[in-house]
């Protein structure tokens, strides 16, 4: 089945002072695929991610979503187009409840503004109850309904990860950018995360993830991009990447996490 | 404007600018070791002048000034121990608010001790009417004291931070606290020292300027703001740049009187602050990249 390309990265380049973090990287992500970006520490994965998400602009190059240009957009604009990301070190509002955190995910689905909110106009109220409904569904799906009203700051890391994922799903993303989703998780939790990501993909979404955990990557990725020193070394199916001589050299040549 | 007038403005600008510079240096010293901006800095200047005034009633000028500086330094140290030290995990807002609170408390204590009267320290040499003629401008000898001592302080600080062990230890604390600790530097001592130093320098400035601009219990807040403006103007964390920035602001304010009503004099410095903050928060002499890394 030929999938259309949904996300295209073309000749992306970024330097910080003397450090060439991302060096002319090009790859495509077909719609409905799970694509992983791997590479040793310092390979430029996070920088690449940040540029796709709009955190900062590349020095040169282009990122397109279908036919829309993402480069140069601010992060919130990227989100409005349906591309949502997670953060390695979780950026949840620790003083808010789980429910409120996940409800934030519904932000782009609504349009009620300040005036509407302050006056509690009908539109605002309808949007609120709709949002709540959706969020409750998601909380159930992820099995975290019991902690709905708990303050996020009091939860374990694993549970916080689930909340972040819930928030992401609440946004009904077309493309998910997952920044090290298995970081800090034990083996069991990593397995759960892996099957979760697959389920999410099966809902018709596209996933681009950065990850160090090779078992997760090899398990679920449809395609893998390998970076080293900012350059793309390999790009293909898990099997082809595993057999790629360059990749093997990088990982067995003493350069590991 | 005649050349005498211009000279007059210049000297007046340098005088005021020196004090701004001293306050700004105090900010920078504390900021460098702790990352805190101590908005009570202006009160140290006020305390210096007030304490010296009271002491000078019972002793001669020099010991009065010396004691005033030491006492104020002790106050600075006390503030650090009692209050600042306990605020380890505070937010930036918390620190700002606490130092504002401290400045209010100091001010009110000063009000209680010295009430609202304006006090003035004796002129170091000469008196209110003595003046020195420099190229046609008549300036008080106190101006020479102010400029001279400020220059000495700046040089002494430069030497201290560059060449003494303690000074270098303080600089080490500012760049990397953990590394400093690992080297055996007692960072808490350095922090305390920085408060003492900043307070003492401020106090000395207060003594210097008291004969000319007089000392009033409420003068601290304006100085705090001006000093902050100068510190930002020069680039936060850069004591030498603070001197240049202080003189610059002093001169700008001084010359502004010639075309603006006096009341708007402060508006100029604040407008400068706002413009700098919006356009180049790293200050005139700071680097854009390092300042964007600073976590405010």
């Amino acid at each position: 089945m030929a999938n259309d390309v949904i996300l295209k990265v073309q000749n992306l380049d970024k330097s910080f002072g003397g450090l060439h973090a991302v060096d002319n990287v090009t790859f495509e992500v077909p719609q409905g695929f799970i694509k992983a970006v791997i590479g040793p520490n310092g390979a430029g994965k996070t920088t690449l991610f940040n540029m796709i998400a709009g955190t900062f602009a590349p020095d040169s190059g282009l990122v397109t979503l279908k036919d829309k240009v993402l480069t140069g957009l601010r992060p919130y604009q990227v989100a409005e187009l349906g591309v949502f990301r997670t953060f390695q070190n979780l950026k949840l509002s620790s003083h808010m409840s789980v429910l409120d955190n996940v409800l934030l995910g519904r932000h782009t689905a609504g349009t009620a503004g300040f005036i509407s909110g302050m006056l509690s106009l009908k539109k605002s109220r309808i949007e609120e109850s709709d949002a709540r409904e959706k969020v409750l569904e998601i909380l159930e799906w992820l099995n975290i309904t019991e902690i709905m009203n708990k303050e996020v700051g009091n939860l374990s890391f694993g549970k916080q990860r689930s909340v972040e994922l819930a928030r992401l799903l609440a946004a009904d993303p077309e493309v998910l950018l997952l920044d090290e989703p298995a970081a800090g998780l034990n083996m069991h939790e990593t397995d759960e995360m892996a099957s979760l990501i697959v389920k999410i993909r099966d809902q018709g979404r596209t996933v681009l993830l950065v990850e160090h955990d090779m078992s997760l990557v090899m398990d679920i990725s449809d395609e893998i991009v390998v970076l080293n020193f900012g350059q793309k070394i390999a790009d293909g199916t898990a099997a082809s990447v595993q057999n790629n001589r360059e990749v093997i050299k990088i990982y067995l040549g003493g350069e590991d996490d | 404007m005649t050349s005498e007038q211009i000279l007059q403005y210049i000297f007046s600008g340098i005088t005021v600018g020196s004090i701004y510079a001293l306050v700004a240096i105090g900010y920078n010293i504390i900021y460098n070791t702790t990352g805190i901006i101590n908005l009570a800095q202006g009160e140290f200047v006020m305390l210096g002048g007030m304490i010296a005034f009271s002491l000078s009633q019972i002793m001669s000028l020099v010991p009065a000034v010396v004691l005033a500086v030491l006492i104020t330094g002790a106050v600075g140290s006390l503030i650090e121990i009692v209050i600042i030290r306990r605020m380890k995990k505070s937010s930036v807002l918390g620190m700002i608010v606490v130092t504002i609170g401290i400045s209010i408390i100091i001010r009110e204590i000063a009000l209680f001790i010295w009430d609202e009267q304006i006090r003035a320290l004796r002129f170091f040499t000469g008196n209110e009417i003595s003046s020195i003629d420099i190229f046609g401008a008549r300036i008080s000898p106190q101006v020479l004291w102010i400029v001279g001592v400020t220059a000495l302080i700046v040089i002494a600080l430069y030497l201290f931070f560059r060449f003494t062990l303690t000074g270098q230890a303080m600089r080490a604390c500012s760049s990397n606290t953990r590394a400093a600790k690992l080297c055996g530097i007692r960072t808490s001592q350095m922090v305390n020292l920085s408060f003492m130093l900043a307070a003492g320098i401020g106090a000395l400035g207060g003594c210097l300027v008291s004969p000319l601009t007089q000392t009033h219990y409420a003068m601290g807040s304006e100085l705090a703001i001006k000093g902050f403006i100068v510190a930002i103007l020069g680039g936060l964390g850069n004591p030498m740049a603070a001197v240049a920035a202080g003189l610059l602001l002093g001169l700008i304010e001084s010359f502004s009187i010639s075309f603006l009503p006096m009341v708007y004099k402060d508006v100029i410095s604040i407008l400068i602050l706002l413009v700098i903050l919006v356009l180049k928060p790293s200050g005139l002499f700071g680097s854009r990249q390092t300042s964007s890394l600073k976590d405010f």
Partner: protein, 352 residues
């Protein structure tokens, strides 16, 4: 619509009525004056709580917006238009009932603009200025933001202190009362003291309702997420720059509105209302009330302002707020009404 969140408002209303009846019974109706003024200051504080507590921005210049409100209405309602009344523009205003004809205590007939116009203009002006300042300044963070807002407040202070039209050091007096509705006039006359008390607190309740609604809405949630850092909000599609400015404008408009009403209530305004000291007070009240705790801020605002206005702190009024700031930030950074702080107080009282 969650009615639960409005229960405290009913409680508040009940308490207010109770207080008023108490003053009636005990013959201490003069307390109502300070309670009325405290109400207006509370409106400033809860607006600031939105900006500082919920959205996590630092504003040390709120008194500036308060003064913009107060001075705008003071200036516009004290200009005597008797001589201009024949000019077409003013004659038109008169025809549509926007001018007020009065006879002063001294028997002079004067004509001035109706306070409704000056009220609306004051809010618009405050909003515009807040927007103009907010856009560049709210990009800053931490100390820079704090000092920039403080700088704004100082500029306002210097302007009103040094400009003739604002009365310089004496401020503006003889500001007429504000008849907002038939039968309800905001003014200092003793005969309408009770009405003013209820009107002021109604204003507070209105503000609380608006803010409580906001907090629990989509935009409110986005604002609250700003508090712990903007990255997450950005990633979820929140235009953080715009939101920061908007909440700043809301806070400014609240402050300006309060400024308008107090000015009419007191019959005047002075430069001290825009001073840094006042701004610091608002911050102190928000801090001790718990930053993001509207009810805590309301209670502390009421108590502290009332006591201050009654002169309880005497000449050490400023010192008290200074001490409060230091003590709260040192020991109760979450404000007095959070569980962590209450526990701490309990432990201290038990002798630790």
């Amino acid at each position: 619509m969650k009615l639960k969140r409005y229960y405290p408002i009913v409680l508040l209303a009940g308490v207010l009525v109770l207080i008023q009846l108490l003053t009636l019974i005990t013959g201490t109706a003069y307390y109502l004056t300070q309670l009325t003024m405290a109400a207006y200051y509370v409106v400033v504080a809860v607006g600031l709580s939105m900006v500082m507590g919920y959205a996590g921005q630092i504003s040390l210049g709120q008194a500036g917006f308060f003064a913009i409100g107060g001075y705008t209405t003071a200036v516009l309602t004290t200009i005597d238009l008797t001589k201009q009344i024949n000019r077409p523009f003013f004659a038109f205003l008169d025809n549509i009932g926007l001018l007020v004809h009065k006879v002063t205590l001294y028997g002079d007939a004067i004509v001035h603009l109706t306070p409704w116009i000056s009220f609306i203009l004051a809010l618009i002006l405050a909003g515009i200025i807040a927007y103009a300042i907010g856009v560049p300044v709210l990009r800053l963070k931490g100390h820079y933001l704090g000092m920039a807002t403080m700088g704004f407040g100082i500029i306002i202070y210097r302007i009103v202190l040094g400009t003739h039209i604002f009365g310089e050091a004496d401020g503006i007096s003889n500001v007429p009362a504000f008849p907002i509705l038939p039968g309800i006039t905001i003014g200092g006359d003793f005969s309408i003291r009770v009405i003013n008390y209820y009107a002021a607190w109604f204003f507070v309740i209105l503000a609380m309702v608006l803010l409580l609604n906001l907090i629990n809405s989509r935009t409110g949630r986005a604002l609250r997420s700003l508090h712990s850092g903007e990255d997450a909000a950005d990633a979820m599609g929140v235009n953080t720059a715009q939101y920061k400015v908007k909440v700043f404008v809301i806070g400014a408009v609240f402050a300006a509105a309060a400024g308008v009403f107090i000015t009419h209530y007191n019959g005047g305004i002075g430069p001290s209302e825009s001073s840094v000291t006042k701004s610091v007070r608002y911050v102190a009240i928000v801090a001790v009330g718990g930053m993001a705790n509207l009810w805590g801020v309301l209670i502390m605002g009421l108590v502290l302002n009332f006591l201050s206005l009654r002169g309880l702190f005497g000449v050490y009024d400023d010192a008290v707020f200074g001490i409060i700031l230091v003590v709260i930030m040192m020991f109760f950074p979450d404000g007095l009404f959070q569980p962590s702080s209450l526990n701490r107080i309990k432990r201290i009282l038990r002798g630790k």
